[in-house]
């Protein structure tokens, strides 16, 4: 049971100090999670901390490869409503 950081990571450091297992480390070209140390925060927190703070949709996957913060989850705008929201904001 472990999470994985993928190439859309922007190396913003937000997750590193939050990990209760110190499983996240700086690497090139992007940060990585040590799968042996990661517990997905079970027993420590209700939400995996890296997932709860990551600002990039899709940058952290679960062990099945599913995005923990799927498209639209952080902006609050689902992909099918993107154009509509853009039109509204552009008109300001």
């Amino acid at each position: 049971m472990a999470l994985e950081i993928i190439e859309s990571c922007v190396n913003c450091w937000a997750c590193v100090p939050l990990c209760p297992n110190k499983a996240i480390y700086e690497a090139k070209p992007h940060f990585l999670i040590d799968a042996d140390k990661c517990t997905e925060c079970t027993g420590d927190f209700a939400e995996a901390q890296c997932v709860a703070v990551c600002p990039i949709e899709g940058a952290i996957l679960d062990e099945l490869g599913v995005a923990m913060n799927p498209p639209g989850s952080l902006t609050g705008i689902s992909p099918e409503h993107w154009a509509e929201a853009q039109a509204e904001i552009a008109a300001r």
């Binding site: 450091w13 937000a14 590193v16 853009q86």
Partner: protein, 501 residues
Amino acid sequence: MDLPVITPEAPKAGGCSAGSCGSTADQMGDMSAEIRAKVQDHPCYSEDAHHYFARMHVAVAPTCNIQCHYCNRKYDCANESRPGVVSEVLTPSQAVKKTLAVAATIPQMTVLGIAGPGDPLANPERTFETFRELALKAPDIKLCVSTNGLALPANVDELAKYNIEHVTITINCVDPDVGAKIYPWIFWQNRRVYGREAAAILIEQQQKGLEMLVARGILVKVNSVLIPGVNDEHLKEVSKIVKAKGAFLHNVMPLIAEAEHGTFYGLMCQRSPTGEELKQLQDACEGDMNMMRHCRQCRADAVGLLGEDRGDEFTMEKVEAMEIDYEAAMAVRAELRARVTAELEAKRQKAHAAKSAPAVQVIQFQPRAAKPAGRPVLMAVAAKGGLVAIHFGHAREFLIYEASAAGAKFVGHRKADAYCSGDETCGEGESVLGRTIRALQGCEVVLCARIGIEPWGNLEAAGIQPNGEHAMEPIEEAVMAVWNEMLVAGKLDARSLAKSA
């Protein structure tokens, strides 16, 4: 008999220090001696000081605990100048080394700030270790911090420990419904909170933090990002509230939202305010609050005077190679600070004396009925070191002054691309010139050291009078000389006001 009163805004007894001239520097007259002492060599808190004193930011705080729609967390870019952008994140010990190297090389550097690239208080260990070391090793440097405020109440006591005299809080709203359009989420108590609920928590913490800082005698500046259609009207209320709670200065900054920055607002085509919209809002808030007009929206690793960045001279590689004798540097720094402070004081006295002079001269030209004596005029100045000193085509920014019977008042600056930077780029000159002219919207005069024939014609066609007759003169004298000429020529009477409106 009644004498013609020609300066309705004229300084009362006590001259400009009575507080009606408007700019931060002039309003220093209203401050207690204690506050004046705290801001007189801080370039971000005193408009006067920023011509003489420099600041630097050390990027020790990468982590952030909120998401703002105007920020892209992929911050590593050397080519952009805006908050939150840095080239290298430093460890606290590297930051201390860099600070000492800069302080020894640039003795005007009086202030060390931590402003990101994330939020300093979301990285408390790194931020406070830096402050702790610097308080010991460089007691002559003022420390300050700029935060989104979410973690402020939890850290106020720690901040007070290091003798931090200045804190900036970015407050864009006091209404969670407005906040929900700016902040999609925050990280709070180990979970992600979204939308209105997130904004409500953030606002509560910001306001609580502001109150706690004021209670401890720490000077608070409030930064607000002006986002058209989101918080433009609302910022007037923000200004009133933060002033009532004891914030000392309000800095309303224009939103930066270019698509290529990859921010949410940039990608969604949220527009930025025009220079005129920004000024109107600053003017509207000014009745209630001391407004900062000279902010250059610098990077989280900026080094030098506001508006210039010498960061390239102090990469960690170069800093590691420097040998610094800080004891010796401190003596040089103290001497320079004393000299500049005296110079500033003399300049302030002289400026006040000069400002009352035109009012007296004006009397002679004014027929009795002509009241008020000439409308205010906005002028753009290509300036350096307090003088009209830059060629129009080389100016990267223009300082904007409002000239009126009450004197020349600094009201902001407008960015421009230097369109004439050499042969290879001159092909694009025209479109850049067009953009510059648009940026100067609302100004009637542009003062510069020199100007070419082509831009002269284009400016005139756009209703902006170029003026190169005051090269190397002090800005305020030049601005008032031009205004007085316009007044004498009858360009500032009520009829011309109606025409220009």
